[in-house]
């Protein structure tokens, strides 16, 4: 059983939902990434999504674009990101780490070499934003051959046929993008998201994480009632942007802990929602 699957099963047994924060590796500085990852876990993260910086982040809004640019200015490469995961693993062998990035750095390294190196570094899942399922056959094969979960996006506009295409390849969880647009866009419609989740559960058989537009404990709590996992990216990057290297871990800790409380309080006060399995 993959570490990601085990995490979701443990949480389900506890009647809790997964909190998945996103940070960009190397932002604001490569030396701070591993400390920030430990901070996320201490503050209540169940899985970490670690962004691999790319020069042309087409699907990201301005906040994550800026994070990517800051990391690239410090010369952060995919190989260095894998090194950061390996360093993190020296002190934490439990929390799953999912790399999230774009296809070109992966293809530049070679899909098979990337998969093997990522496994060795202690990566658990990989989400390549610009690999839709129709272009992912080789990628998914390489992931599964190296005991990695390929994570896929689904959108409000995804048809049943597309959900089935994703289901054929996905493991770990699927990431449901709650609104149209790029990362960091406006508010989300919780009821509309809730209406899609049973269908995605039924088709994919894996947990559903919801992201895009989750900015505070209240929305995190509302999404926790309807989804298996809550993904928060741009809001955390904003906190990092507004911090100094001295207080960045403390500020990110406070934010993530607040999101955690919002989720636990909200799920605790409502009847349990059907889980993944």
């Amino acid at each position: 059983m993959s570490k990601i699957q085990a995490t979701f099963e443990r949480l389900q047994a506890q009647g809790r939902k997964a909190l998945i924060p996103f940070i960009t590796a190397g932002d604001p500085d490569p030396a701070l990434t591993v400390p920030l990852m430990h901070t996320l876990v201490e503050a209540g993260a169940d899985i970490i999504e670690l962004g691999v910086p790319f020069s042309d982040p087409m699907a990201d809004g301005p906040t994550i674009q800026r994070a990517s640019e800051r990391a690239l200015l410090k010369g952060v490469s995919l190989r260095q990101v894998l090194g950061m995961v390996a360093n993190f693993r020296a002190d934490n062998n439990e929390t799953p780490v999912v790399l999230m990035g774009y296809a070109n750095p992966v293809e530049s390294m070679g899909v098979n070499e990337f998969a093997a190196t990522a496994f060795d570094a202690g990566v658990d899942g990989v989400l390549v934003v610009d690999y839709p399922p129709e272009e992912s056959t080789e990628f998914a094969r390489a992931m599964h051959a190296n005991a990695l979960d390929p994570i896929f996006l689904l959108a409000p506009t995804s048809t049943p046929a597309r959900i089935a295409q994703v289901a054929a390849l996905a493991s770990g969880y699927v990431y449901y993008v709650s609104l149209k647009g790029v990362t960091g866009s406006a508010a989300l419609d919780v009821a509309a998201v809730a209406a899609r989740i049973p269908e995605i559960h039924a088709s994919t058989g894996v947990p559903v994480g919801v992201g895009f537009g989750i900015r505070d404990a209240l929305t995190a709590g509302l999404v926790a009632r309807i989804a298996d996992a809550v993904v928060v990216g741009s809001r955390i990057i904003e906190e990092i942007e507004q911090s100094t290297s001295d207080n960045v871990c403390a500020r990110v800790h406070a934010l993530v802990a607040e999101l955690r409380r919002g989720m636990d309080d909200s799920v605790g006060t409502s009847p349990p929602v059907r889980g993944a399995s």
């Binding site: 087409m58 301005p62 995919l78 070109n104 293809e107 530049s108 390294m109 610009d130 149209k180």
Partner: protein, 401 residues
């Protein structure tokens, strides 16, 4: 002599290993909608008739083919013929594609069109067509390019378009394309994205090629009329590659005709300051398709250089990548200095001021022609006129207005 049937791309937009649909799931429905609409339009005689009518009466097609006799004589070898896309309305081949896509936007009920632009030529062509069709038009342009191309920014504004400066990344064409994609994914219900070249996710490389193929189709007829045969080689500059794909595509089955794409070597391939993706790049994924890219060892896209802004792009259309690998087309390079020299030659010898982009194709013809006998024919796609380049050329010659 006919080569085996050429019917690429496949249903998912692949040209061999290149092309495809490398976008986030959020964009897939928009591309599926576009695919369906284009598949219907392309078989609809009314759509085709309207496209042809506009190309004739609004653009001024067919563009002539001109025998550059004086220049050919001076070079002393093969005869050089110019396909005069510079005589089109708005001064370049870009308008052919913009008309096709704007007609499609109207059919799909999208009242708003967006575009990316580097030098501003595609932005101007899009703004032109949007004005004529009464559509809202937003053009994304890198803030660096806005500074360099003030006249074209003003032209777009005169035509009623909003020009949005892009401040991310290198603040040039590739970043403008990223930003236009972000706009599209957010506003897809009322917005059509008019991509200016044969790149992007499927169906764009195929669709833009089809709209531009009028260049090659006319050439085949005109060469037969004027020379009673087809050229020995067709030469075109390649940035993203739309003018080259437009003239090459109808010639692909004519195996006796060499297809030569000319990339920008900038200050020289060895300096690293160039835009020659096919010659000096390696395959990767950018802007929705797999193709040759200029990238560093970690797969980050690198900044390009060319004296001609229209060739200043780190990728290239995926069909060119396929034509290179399959050997059907050859790709060569021309430096800034060689292109400028050819620019001046054409001005002085033929009374034609070519775009700096097209000057790369002209420069290669000037290199090739003297090596061939006088009865050989080179057909060059003169993709645009050089009025837009006055400032750049003057600056290179040490002149200020």
């Amino acid at each position: 002599m006919l080569a085996p049937r050429y019917d690429l791309p496949d249903a998912l937009g692949h040209f061999g290993p290149y092309g495809g649909v490398f976008v986030a799931e959020t964009l897939i429905p928009a591309l599926e909608e576009l695919n369906e609409a284009y598949a219907l339009a392309q078989r609809d005689p009314l759509f085709i008739a309207e496209f042809e009518y506009d190309l004739k009466h609004y653009v001024g097609r067919p563009s002539p083919i001109y025998h550059a006799r004086r220049w050919s004589d001076l070079l002393g070898g093969a005869q050089i013929y110019l396909k005069r896309e510079d005589l089109n309305h708005t001064g370049a081949h870009k308008i052919n594609n913009c008309i096709g896509q704007a007609m499609l936007a109207r059919r799909m009920g999208k009242p708003r069109v967006i575009a990316e632009t580097g030098a501003g030529q595609h932005g101007v062509a899009t703004a032109t067509v949007a004005a004529r069709y009464g559509m809202e038009c937003v053009v994304y342009m890198g803030s660096e390019d806005i500074k360099r191309q003030a006249a074209n920014v003003y032209r777009m504004k005169l035509l009623g378009a909003s020009v949005v400066p892009v401040e991310s990344g290198s603040r040039t064409l590739k970043d403008a394309l990223n930003e236009a994609m972000r706009d599209w994914v957010t506003n897809v219900s009322n917005t059509f994205y008019i991509i200016g070249t044969v790149a992007g996710p499927h169906p764009y490389p195929m669709m833009v090629r089809d709209f531009q193929a009028v260049i090659g189709k006319e050439s085949i007829v005109q060469m037969q009329d004027q020379c009673e045969r087809q050229p020995d080689a067709v030469i075109a500059c390649v940035g993203g590659g739309s003018n080259a794909m437009g003239i090459f595509h109808p010639y692909i089955p004519l195996a006796g005709v060499r297809l030569i794409g000319v990339e920008a070597a900038g200050e020289g391939i060895e300096t690293g300051h160039h835009a020659a993706s096919l010659t000096a790049g390696r395959p990767g994924v950018l802007h929705g398709n797999r193709t040759y890219l200029l990238q560093d060892e970690n797969g980050q896209i690198i900044e390009t250089h060319s004296v001609s802004a229209g060739l200043d792009y780190p990728g290239v259309g995926p069909e060119h990548a396929w034509l290179k690998d399959s050997g059907r087309a050859e790709y060569v390079t021309i430096t800034d200095a060689e292109a400028l020299q050819a620019f001046h030659s054409l001005c002085r010898l033929e009374g034609i001021i070519p775009a700096l982009e097209s000057s790369h194709a002209i420069a290669y013809a000037a290199r090739l022609a003297p090596t061939l006998p006088k009865d050989k024919i080179l057909l060059i796609n003169l993709s645009g006129r050089g009025d837009k380049d006055m400032h750049t050329v003057a600056e290179k010659s040490g002149i200020t207005f």
